[in-house]
């Protein structure tokens, strides 16, 4: 039984499966790619063929256009198995965003699971993470420091609604990444009883429409156009993080600037970004979830792709696992999607 080290290797293009002749979330164009989820740092254009969940393919089409940057699209629904070369592949839910999946690869009696980005906290917009026992577990470590324990997202939404109540004449603008975070924040607001229309930056509209088409109801959404200044007072507006403190936001009435991100756990991050209301809502595993997941999958060996890998490797080693860093450069672990 060959150790996955022998058949799963790091190449300049990214993580490569030798017996299947494909890459997972490659950073450069390759002939065959398996894509864990549709975020732009994982789903890049220019591949020959891509394999992903139907939801991920649909979201990629929304982001890149129907042609997917020229790639042939193969859909593999969650739970179905596909033979590729001398491997068997199946996809398991990763709980990160709609369509996100872990790639389970079996080869010659050994199994590797590449989890992509994931979280364990409940999310009304996607299927929950399922631990898959394996020999090697490939994990992210975006929030790989013990200072990151994300509070329950519902409590953060309650903070936002409390602020709306306290400042009824101001517009609350929430910075949220346009794929995944925005839809989750909307779904959480609906679950908390906020039934008013939610106003969106133009960049959020197509992806929200795609979520709705994939069966995730988001309630009434309206574009936050310049003309609506008065209508936006007392309302909640969602925009990409880069827009909330920039010229786009000048259309808003005395905005309360909020940001939905795991990085908001650190006050200096909020302060430096001019964020008045930090909302600690993350689509990545926090420190306890990373450790819990390592325990759940029971893999003797952990490979860490990106993030604060030293700390996670240190903690995993102390718990008796073999752990090492893959040093894949190119995933935006410090970026707004977190």
């Amino acid at each position: 039984m060959p150790h996955p080290e022998a058949w799963l290797t790091v190449r300049p293009e990214g993580l490569y499966c030798v017996p299947g002749d494909f890459f997972i979330d490659p950073l450069r164009p390759v002939p065959r790619a398996v894509i864990t989820h549709a975020h732009s740092d994982h789903a890049r254009p220019g591949h020959g063929a891509v394999l992903a969940t139907p939801e991920t393919i649909a979201l990629m089409r929304t982001r890149m256009g129907d042609a997917l940057g020229g790639a042939r699209a193969d859909k593999l629904p969650i739970g179905e198995t596909l033979s590729v070369g001398d491997t068997k592949i199946r996809l398991a839910p990763a709980g990160h965003v709609l369509g996100s999946a872990q790639v389970v690869i079996d080869h010659d009696g050994s199994r590797a699971v590449i989890s992509g980005d994931y979280k364990r906290a409940p999310d009304p917009t996607c299927a929950p993470f399922t631990p898959v026992p394996c020999d090697v577990f490939v994990t992210e470590a975006t929030f790989g420091l013990p200072v990151f324990t994300h509070p329950p997202a519902a409590a953060e939404i309650a903070k936002l609604l409390d602020s709306v109540k306290l400042f009824p004449d101001r517009t609350h603008v929430v910075g949220a990444y346009s794929l995944g975070k925005a839809q989750r924040v909307i779904a959480l607001l609906r679950a908390a009883g906020w039934n008013a229309p939610i106003y969106l930056h133009g960049a959020h509209m197509p992806l929200c429409a795609a979520y709705e088409a994939l069966g995730i109801p988001l309630g009434e959404l309206r574009p936050a156009t310049v003309a609506d200044r008065a209508a936006l007072a007392g309302q909640i507006v969602l925009a990409p993080p880069s827009a909330i403190a920039d010229r786009w936001a000048r259309r808003l009435t005395e905005p309360v600037t909020a940001m939905a991100s795991g990085w908001m756990r650190v006050r200096q991050r909020a302060k430096a970004g001019g964020i008045e209301l930090p909302l600690i809502i993350s689509d990545h595993a926090d420190w306890p979830e990373l450790l819990q997941t390592i325990a759940d999958v029971a893999a003797p060996e952990i490979w860490v792709t990106h993030g604060n890998e030293e700390a996670l490797i240190h903690a995993a080693t102390q718990r008796g696992y073999r752990a090492r860093a893959l040093r894949l450069v190119g995933y935006d672990d410090a970026e707004e999607a977190a």
Partner: protein, 523 residues
């Protein structure tokens, strides 16, 4: 403690004054006594107990966490209390965090040796936000961006028709947790009686004299005085104690023991705190050596001797003189001063003038050390708190100006967060290098701001976080009140109250002023 932790977090990140007031008012309206009072004391800096040292917190955290992970976390977060609050293992069910009152009482009564055990139990009972507030509170690092005056303004908006000035007049007779104050504000109790305690009275302030106001002035109605370049103080002395208060009601007695020592009388006086060089008023930079200190060494007192130039008398003994016209108060001040001849004090000279033209001439000549311009006081005006219109005018001498080159622009805060609104400007050195001499945030209109903002975006040559370095192409005419030597600035000079007076879109950067031009203006 949960509500207090939430309040601290929001105040720290909220730039707007009105928003801060709304947050404070809701807190005071909904939190019970004595917690809200302790919170008020924590915000105004009136809560003191033997503070925990960072080493204690570090040691405590190391008993619960892996030291390597703690070190890496601290490197990442950059603040010890925050790192500790986040890394502290959260128990499965957070049950019962301590109340603010419980924390204050415990710290006051328990021996210091018991602190680690007590603190650990509190941290175990709290979530991360509450842990942060507890740790900041006990290390004395609670910086929520709330001035004492803002807190009092929030209290004024909290209940009955009691103003911030009303609160000010009893404030220094009160002690935390201020239950009598809240009872008064809630209309459940009488006005707290300061009972002879040395309390602060809100000072009377002047309006800047605009050209349009000058024509309307009748010289017969006004007394003129020099406007001295120190800091405005209120001296309060009597059987109940002695205090030196700043204009903002801050007790600065500890910084000025030389002044405190000579307050051997029963009166409340208004004056300008100055530092002397011989018999002359020293530049403001000398006074700065004495400000914001917890104590003043004998050497410091000798090197920068403090002096008070008296403007007004508010109380003589128990008698409140504030309702009297200025002319009468001035007569009482002069008589009092002649009778007591207090050390380290003299009277602000009154200036005779018969016409505005004469006064204009005096102002133009007023560039001596220590003089900022003129004050005009209506002879019939009582001493009123705040800035009543048409009673007192300040007529600053014309500012100095230089043409400087915009070097860096930084994003503003709050309403200006999408604008590059904070400007670092520089002057040319003989070797052709541009050296920064100051920063300006004001003096331009909204339309001008929009234009500078887009200029900055189009002329950026480098970015450092929120700061952009721009190409040398925009000349700003900078107005300032004075230049002083500074070892902290690369240019060796610092400006007082710099602001943008004009945008010189027409002027090439190469024709902006040289640093030597500014150095010639140093006193």
């Amino acid at each position: 403690m949960i509500a207090f932790a939430t309040l601290i977090e929001r105040l720290t990140l909220t730039p707007g004054r009105l928003a801060k007031l709304a947050l404070l008012q809701r807190f005071f309206a909904t939190e019970p006594d004595p917690d809200r009072g302790w919170a008020l004391a924590a915000l105004t800096g009136d809560l003191t107990f033997p503070a925990a040292k960072p080493a204690l917190i570090r040691a405590l955290v190391e008993t619960r966490t892996d030291p390597i992970l703690f070190r890496w976390s601290y490197d990442f977060v950059g603040d010890l209390a925050e790192t500790a609050s986040l890394i502290w293992p959260t128990p499965a069910a957070v049950t019962d965090p301590p109340t603010l009152a419980e924390i204050v009482e415990t710290l006051r009564t328990q021996p210091k040796a018991a602190l680690p055990t007590i603190l650990a139990a509190w941290l175990d009972a709290s979530n991360a936000d509450v842990r942060y507030a507890i740790l900041k509170l006990i290390t004395g690092g609670l910086r929520a961006g709330v001035s004492a005056r803002l807190a009092k303004t929030a209290l004024a908006g909290h209940g009955a028709a009691i103003s911030a000035d009303d609160i000010e007049e009893v404030w220094h007779g009160l002690t935390p947790p201020y239950e009598s104050l809240f009872a008064w504000l809630d209309a459940r109790g009488p006005r707290p009686d300061p009972a002879g305690a040395p309390v602060f009275r809100p000072p009377m302030l002047a309006h800047p004299l605009e050209p349009a106001d000058i024509a309307a002035l009748d010289p017969a109605d006004y007394t003129a005085e020099w406007k001295w370049d120190g800091i405005r103080v209120q001296l309060v002395a009597g059987p109940g104690g002695r205090r030196v208060f700043s204009r903002g009601a801050e007790d600065i007695s500890a910084s000025f023991p030389d002044i405190l020592a000579v307050l051997d009388f029963d009166a409340v006086l208004d004056g300008e705190l100055l530092v002397l060089r011989g018999t002359d008023v020293a530049p403001f930079a000398d006074l700065q050596q004495r400000l914001n200190r917890k104590s003043a060494s004998a050497k410091l007192q000798e090197q920068y001797p403090a002096w008070v130039r008296l403007y007004d008398i508010l109380f003589e003994g128990p008698e409140d003189l504030r309702p009297l016209p200025f002319a009468d108060r001035r007569a009482r001040l002069e008589a009092w001063h002649a009778r007591h001849a207090p050390a380290r004090m003299d009277l602000s000279e009154t200036i005779r003038f018969t016409s505005i033209t004469e006064l204009t001439g005096l102002r133009a000549g007023a560039r001596d050390a220590g003089i900022e311009g003129l004050m005009l006081k209506r002879r019939d005006s009582p001493y009123l708190p705040g800035r009543p219109r048409g009673k007192w005018w300040k007529w600053k001498r014309d500012p100095l100006t230089i043409d400087a080159v915009l070097m860096y622009a930084q994003r503003g805060h709050g309403k200006r967060s999408s604008f590059y609104s904070d400007y670092t400007f520089g002057l040319w050195r003989e070797d052709g290098e541009l050296v920064p001499v100051g920063k300006a945030y004001s003096g331009f209109t909204d339309a001008e701001l929009t234009r500078i903002d887009s200029w900055v975006r189009n002329h950026t040559v480098a970015r450092f976080g929120p700061v952009r370095e721009v190409s040398r192409g925009l000349v700003l005419e900078i107005e300032f009140d004075a230049a002083q030597k500074s070892s902290r600035h690369k240019s060796g000079v610092a400006l007082r109250f710099p602001r943008v007076s004009r945008l010189r879109w027409d002027k090439p950067a190469s024709e902006a002023d040289h640093l030597t031009t500014l150095l010639q203006r140093l006193p």
